[in-house]
């Protein structure tokens, strides 16, 4: 066992490092995060410049085929690039959904001339894409969406509302899942489209989150007219297309960078005085530090197991499905505990250690436990896909969508 690169991987890592050294600034300390709040227009401009540079050098999407600006490389090289990039101060986070989910769905369903038109500008950061799935009445149960698309000659007319749309306020295009037939059961009446976010009738309203940020939006559709040529997949097969999108979400295997963790918690515990001395000498404090250390290590090493499979050209096992289940509550609980160590001052967002980072993690953790699959949905997924337990009984399975909730 070892954590070493293969010869090919090592050579690639060296190549990436040289390129990053020449084009970006190395971080001075590893708690610096690249995932700044993405509601800052200045940052978006910088991120677009960085994305263009990356795409021009061939690093933006290594696994994509050459014809789309990739290198047809193995996923492990994509991971190596991300590992190295995480050590530099570069603006990230604006293109993950577009390139990780929307464009792969386009590749599966769009026409060649459409791919010709859209893939390259997306890859180079000139056009940003969003995913319009969730609705006020359809979160975990995304197939329960109500936004309607009705046929009108060669066009479709869309009416309804989406919510939690990351980045819609700066996005140029989006993929949208709609209900085209309410007379059949839930999953059967869906159809997927893509559209220009500047199409008349599309209105984006940012949602201010509990954390103060505004990364998400409500998106309203009022008589939005789009041509049938923007349909992705067959009419009524939108659920299949949505699964393509969501499958791609799960291929993301990079390590999250930045954030406070055990080292910072240890430092805080050394500097905090409790009744009988430094907090680090208190057995309750030590027990919690040990538990979180075991989780932190466990997550890092579990990723290493996944990377091992990728490095050997194998399909990774299901072990990475545990990561968010562990990481999100850990972030919330560790934040809360660090705040407790500060006493009453733990409520303050200024004049507290680590620039109130633990306070931010406590707030952010509440959202992280929900975003991209709630704790509960992720446990269902583990139970069903890994352990082979039965799916929940779907009382709406055979009932036409427009008859749901009626006696």
């Amino acid at each position: 066992m070892d954590f070493n690169d293969t010869q090919e991987e090592a050579a690639f890592r060296q190549e990436v490092r040289s390129w990053l050294d020449a084009n970006a600034t190395r971080k001075s300390d590893d708690t610096q995060s690249n995932r700044a709040r993405n509601d800052d227009p200045e940052l978006l401009k910088k991120a677009k410049e960085w994305q263009d540079k990356k795409a021009t050098a061939g690093y933006a999407r290594l696994t994509w085929p050459k014809e789309f600006g990739g290198r047809g490389a193995s996923p492990i090289l994509q991971v190596i690039y991300q590992q190295e990039e995480a050590n530099y101060l570069v603006p990230l986070g604006f293109f993950d959904i577009g390139l990780g989910m929307c464009i792969p769905t386009m590749m599966a369903y769009a026409k060649p001339e459409q791919l010709q038109r859209y893939v390259k500008p997306a890859l180079h950061g000139q056009e940003v894409w969003c995913q319009l799935f969730s609705e006020p009445a359809a979160g975990s149960d995304v197939a329960g969406i109500r936004t309607k698309a009705e046929r009108d000659g060669d066009d479709w007319i869309i009416n309804g509302q989406k919510v939690w749309t990351s980045g819609a306020h700066y996005c140029d295009f989006g993929i949208v899942i709609t209900r085209t037939d309410p007379n059949v059961p839930k999953h059967a009446g869906l159809t997927m489209f893509f559209l220009d976010m500047k199409t008349p009738g599309v209105e984006v309203r940012p949602i201010k989150q509990m954390s103060g940020g505004a990364n998400f939006n409500e998106v309203f559709f009022t008589n939005v007219r789009i041509p049938d040529s923007q349909r992705l997949g067959k009419v009524g097969e939108g659920w299949k297309a949505a699964l393509t999108t969501l499958m791609n979400e799960r291929l993301a295997v990079g390590l999250p960078s930045g954030g406070l963790d055990i080292d910072e918690l240890m430092e805080l515990a050394r500097e905090t005085e409790l009744e009988d001395g430094a907090a680090i000498r208190n057995q309750q404090v030590r027990s919690k530090i040990a538990d979180w250390y075991v989780q932190q290590q466990g997550l890092k090493l579990t990723r290493y197991r996944t990377l091992t499979a990728l490095s050997k050209g194998q399909t990774p096992g299901p072990e990475s499905s545990i990561i968010k289940i562990v990481a999100a509550p850990k972030m919330q609980d560790m934040g809360a505990f660090a705040m407790e160590l500060m006493g009453h001052a733990g409520i303050m967002k200024e004049d507290v250690p680590f620039a109130a980072g633990f306070q931010a993690q406590w707030i952010g953790g509440a959202g992280f436990r929900i975003a991209g699959g709630t704790d509960e949905i992720l446990r269902n997924i583990v139970a069903e896909r890994v352990l082979g337990l039965p799916a929940d009984i779907r009382v709406d399975k055979d009932i036409p969508f427009n008859q749901l909730g009626k006696k």
Binding site: Q283, I322, V382
Partner: protein, 374 residues
């Protein structure tokens, strides 16, 4: 990145798994639990024939000279089967103690016998209901003679020799030494004691001027024991991972089959989420155990930290899976006839026999402090 076992190691694992599935089904565990045997001699003989005790012993001492990784994959299978054999004692604790602290003469005498299965070794540390510390060990060693009482000693009856922690007259941590004592002599009395896991037999050993010799330096007992426990923590973690996985699947199989309120209980989220949590803890434990194995193999500087993390994660995973397995079974899971009890019992035995989670968490943070200070 190569954070996995080799194909050969996986093949060995598969071979031992098949052997145990065939020769050590749960009815064998029950036979030992309910009966007078000290251990399942038939299963143990088969494991000896497969070369299991010889795996980690150097070739010059009659072993196969393989790495700790081979012993780890076997430990996982022993744990999965909850096998009633002296693996944790003889193959892990006694063998590792000899490799760690034995003189050449001691190794020459005992390692070939351990490798061939002629001898069974064990470790005798505790002296009743107090966690052992250098200051509270009352068994004494001096002038080549051992006096005192040790309990509980796993496999105390079956063992040929024991490695005993005894007070040798020094002060502080140097008050104690490890001594090696042949249990087949007049000065040794063995008495079976009742424990929570009768599938692994335990004894009280009484030493009355028994002939014994130092294993490692005088006054080095506590330091050596800590090092021995780091290696043991990794092997135990694999056994715990195997046991946790077995308990999880046992609960899952029952949840698929048992109907309540018109459907399989495994379709209720209260059960699904509990079993998903078993899986989460299991994978955290497995990953930490792998790193422990890697550090043990490399003799890496991170071993003390990796061993503690593996120990804590694996103890948590096995405890949780074992108790929720019974809970998933409901009343039938609490009967003597049910197989659920084997893992419940074994999980506690393994959790406590080389120091419980509280002690290991304290050690882990101490080691983290040392690492950060360095």
């Amino acid at each position: 990145m190569n954070f996995d076992f080799s194909d050969d190691q996986k093949l060995l694992k598969e071979q031992v798994r098949k052997f145990l599935a065939d020769k050590c089904p749960t009815k064998v565990v029950r036979r030992v639990l309910d009966g007078p045997e000290t251990h399942a001699e038939d299963v143990w003989k088969g494991l000896v024939d497969l070369g299991v005790p010889a795996l980690g012993i150097p070739e010059e001492y009659g072993g196969m000279g393989l790495s700790p990784l081979e012993v780890c994959v076997v430990a996982e299978e022993i744990g999965r089967a909850a096998a009633p054999v002296p693996f944790d004692t003889s193959v892990v604790l006694a063998t590792e103690a000899l490799k760690l602290a034995g003189s050449d003469a001691q190794k020459k005498k005992w390692l070939p016998e351990l490798a061939s299965g002629k001898a069974i070794g064990t470790l005798a540390i505790a002296e009743g209901a107090q966690p052992p510390k250098p200051r509270n060990i009352r068994t004494t060693f001096g002038g080549g003679r051992l006096n005192g009482k040790k309990l509980p000693v796993t496999d105390g009856e079956a063992a040929t020799f024991a490695i005993v922690l005894a007070n040798s007259g020094g002060s502080g941590d140097r008050a104690v030494s490890l001594v090696l004592v042949d249990l087949g002599q007049a000065g040794v009395a063995k008495k079976r004691i009742e424990t929570i896991d009768p599938a692994r037999k335990h004894a009280e050993l009484t030493f009355n001027d028994a002939t014994a010799e130092l294993l490692g330096g005088e006054g080095e007992g506590w330091r050596l024991l800590e090092r021995l426990y780091d290696a043991a923590a990794v092997y135990f973690a694999f056994a715990q991972v195997g046991g946790a996985e077995a308990a999880m699947w046992m609960a899952r199989d029952y949840a698929l089959q048992r109907q309540a309120f018109g459907r399989a209980i495994g379709s209720y989220q209260a059960i699904k989420h509990k079993l998903a949590d078993c899986y989460v803890k299991l994978e955290l434990a497995r990953s930490n155990a792998y790193y422990g194995a890697m550090m043990l193999t490399e003799d890496g500087a991170d071993l003390p930290l990796a061993a503690a993390a593996a120990r804590i994660a694996a103890t948590d995973a096995y405890d949780f899976a074992a108790k929720e397995n019974i809970q998933t079974h409901g009343g039938i899971g609490f009967t003597w006839e049910a197989d659920t009890q084997f893992h419940y019992r074994r999980s506690r035995l393994l959790a406590l026999s080389i120091g419980g989670p509280m002690a290991w968490k304290d050690k882990l943070v101490t080691r983290l402090e040392q690492k950060n200070a360095a």
